[in-house]
Amino acid sequence: MDKDKRINQDKKIIEMVSIPELFKEVSFFLGNTQDFIKRDISVDEGEAFCMYIETLVDRERLEELLEWFQRSMWEVGEVATTSDFQIIKADSSINDIGLRIVKGEAVLWILNDNGWTGFSLICPLNRFRAIEEPKNEQVVRGSHAGFNESVLTNINQIRSKMRSKNLVVRYLTIGKETNSTCVLIYLDNIANQMVVEEYIMRVQAIDSDMAFSIGYIEEFIEDNSWSPFPQFLNTERPDRVAANLAEGRIALMMEGSPTALIGPVNFFAFYQSPDDYNGRFLVGTFYRLLRILSFVIAVFLPALYIAVIGFHFEILPDDLALPARRAVEGVPYRPIVEALLLELTIELIREAGIRLPNPIGQTIGIVGGLVIGDAVVNAGLISNLMIIVVALTAISSFVVPSVEMNTTVRILRFPFMLLASGFGFYGIAIGLMLLTIHLVKLESLRSPYLTPLAPFHISSLKDMFIRMPSWLQNKRPPGASPIDKKRQGDSRWWKNEREK
């Protein structure tokens, strides 16, 4: 069988003598699948037939194309390669033909005295949902469009946002079985060619048999899979992609996934939201600082609480120490057990809430949050201070405007809690050291992950913790090592002019 197949796929079309033989060979190549169909058509020049997989092809469109083909312009050679037609060379192999068919093309062959003449008719059947706002990346102001599962629609959305001659789209095919189409999008004059090449190389190096989503690909191409931190920015928003492309980054998209994978990216990109740029700069800055604070709270607050209760009670001011002591005294467990119990409960509620329909999800939230929270304190299992700490942590961890970073933050606090329960502040300091070293070491497409901080770039601090007004950000951030570092000139020269 294996040997037969290998012989079969290398056969050339020229070697075939008749239409049934060609059909039989292709059919054999496709494993005699039953939705592979042959349709005879009549043309003046000789015997002709069309073969395709009926579940992949838009019938109506195919009929239109065939009709047009028969009626108007059958003169071999005049038909150039267009978006609907492509000429296929007669010396292509069964393998080439088979792959075209699997992609959804209808292949038309004419056999006459001159031999075989082949065309591919492109009429794929597309069933996609409409353009909607992505549910996990909603914004208050700004565009409400999001990607869908069709790559063409997605590229169209990006292209209509930036009509630039420098916008380059590269098609790549991955997955030995699935033959999925991936596209790499970047701005030729800004993105660093070395980074582009690195990205393409990594995608092409994937030797997996299938690639069913972009998240699956991400693991193959990221720099460090063992790190808890995401090294590519996932987004379903065309405006976010466009903004990142303009900073010299590169986006990877895939047929069937509404998500773009943007790299090289740094830690702070996960804390930026399109909303920051739509509002006033003070507002944007405030919320960005709030988000960074939320990271600190979400990762360190439970650990700090455990350390204070377990080791450093004296750090609390006298007025607070007494109520704290009273709250903790009745609890039979150590703070770490308390914290783990409650964190686990919250994670359970969250996980249960995701897949439930909305009304039930809310009920679970109320029952889980309010009822369990209240009862657990009354039962004396957990101190009410711990409830405050864990609730604040949970809320903080959901502030991150990126889903992957959100999960990272939630996972990260557990090692810190364990360290704090074992060694107090000393443990937290050690954990913090390890975390910082890890972040400094981490790279995304070979560019440092903590980039405006380490290595330190003073000019790109304008768009990190704070968001300075856009007309002050004249340089592109250096993270993606863009070729063209200058973003814009002085847009507000009129201001100085008037003052003169």
């Binding site: 004296e314 750090i315 001011p317 060694f423 300091a429 390890l434 380490a454």
Partner: protein, 365 residues
């Protein structure tokens, strides 16, 4: 994206700062005050100026052999065998510094927060991040040090509180009243507190572009540390009277302990947490240097495995000095040999290299 194993002048600046500021900052004001009394800051100033001169030696050496590491220079001047021997001696010196550093750290931790925790646990935790960082290339090391330097302003600002509460400037007077002898005697512990400036010599060879300019930037690192230390000394001395200072082992921590906020009562614990990270960063420099030296002795390109080897040995040795007096004896020894390794040997090498060059010129003439 910078090329591998290349650092900028500012990165070198922060490597030096982060190597110098280590364990010493807590005990340093007391140690110097024991000798120089209320003029400890003058001793520190003199020590700082002296070290600036030593840096000049380093600078000439690095500029004379811009392509080479320090050990290459020694081999060029004194031949392969002696060069190797000196490298081994330096390795021993680095490891000795590490042992002292571990013991000093352990003393602070046990006396201040964890009285019961066994030494091996405290030290084991301490070396984990150090190993994790020292395995990496010098570029990562430099980035980390630059990042963690943001903690130094935090320390400075928290000390400013002293100036707001009840500073006793009179404690500093009469300036120079302790007499020249005591002040000059105080220079020795002051130099010891500044140990780590030799990082300039070892890490300087990683600076490759614009060498003269970048090395000049970096040489301000020690000046920065000197000024910072003078600030710390003056701050502690206007808080404690000299007679108190001498019996207070970690004056900075005591100052912090007295400080109160509405939210946090014991600032010293937070200060100590920050200090741990800075101390560990200083320790990492020596681990990195030690591993690189060992790699050189064994002709290994990569220093990763050497890090493990060194840390095991250092961890083992650090249990030998058991009592506090033993640690103090070991530290006294370091005070003496550090001057040999950081000042005497580089100076001799510079002299030999100058002499050699003249020789060659005469020969060719």
């Amino acid at each position: 994206m910078n090329a591998k194993n290349e650092i900028t002048g500012w990165q070198l600046f922060f490597i030096i700062v982060q190597t110098q500021i280590g364990i010493a900052i807590l005990a340093m004001p007391t140690d110097i005050s024991k000798v120089a009394k209320h003029d400890a800051w003058i001793s520190m100033l003199l020590a700082g100026l002296l070290i600036q001169l030593v840096l000049l030696t380093y600078f000439f050496l690095l500029m004379k052999y811009p392509e080479n590491t320090y050990f290459d220079m020694i081999e060029k001047c004194l031949g392969k065998f002696i060069g190797r021997t000196i490298a081994v001696l330096y390795l021993a010196y680095f490891m000795y510094v590490m042992v002292i550093s571990l013991n000093g750290f352990e003393q602070v931790i046990t006396s201040w927060i964890f009285e019961e925790t066994p030494k091996w646990v405290v030290l084991l935790l301490y070396i984990i991040p150090a190993v994790y960082l020292a395995r990496e290339s010098v570029v990562i090391l430099a980035r980390f040090k630059m990042l963690i330097s943001f903690l130094i302003p935090v320390l400075v600002f928290s000390l400013f509180w002293v100036y707001l509460s009840n500073p006793q400037y009179l404690y500093l007077f009469p300036i120079g009243g302790t007499g020249t002898d005591s002040i000059i005697k105080g220079v020795q512990p002051a130099i010891f507190a500044l140990i780590g400036f030799e990082a300039f010599l070892f890490f300087g060879s990683y600076v490759k572009r614009d060498k003269a300019k970048n090395l000049k930037i970096a040489s301000f690192g020690t000046l920065f540390v000197t000024v910072f230390y003078i600030f710390v000394i003056v701050t502690t001395q206007i808080f404690f009277y000299v007679d108190e200072m001498i019996i207070v082992p970690y004056p900075v921590l005591y100052i912090m302990k007295a400080l109160e906020f509405t939210v946090v009562q014991r600032i010293d614990l937070i200060f100590l947490t920050i200090w741990m990270m800075i101390a560990c960063s200083s320790f990492t420099s020596y681990l990195f240097l030690g591993a690189n030296t060992l790699g050189r002795v064994f002709n290994q390109e990569k220093h990763t495995k050497m890090v493990y080897l060194i840390i095991i040995i250092v961890y083992g040795i650090s249990f030998f000095p058991e009592t506090e007096t033993e640690v103090a004896e070991w530290t006294d020894l370091l005070m003496k040999i550090s001057i040999l390794f950081s000042i005497a040997i580089p100076f001799v090498i510079l002299l030999i290299s100058l002499f050699k060059k003249k020789n060659r010129k005469e020969q060719s003439a």
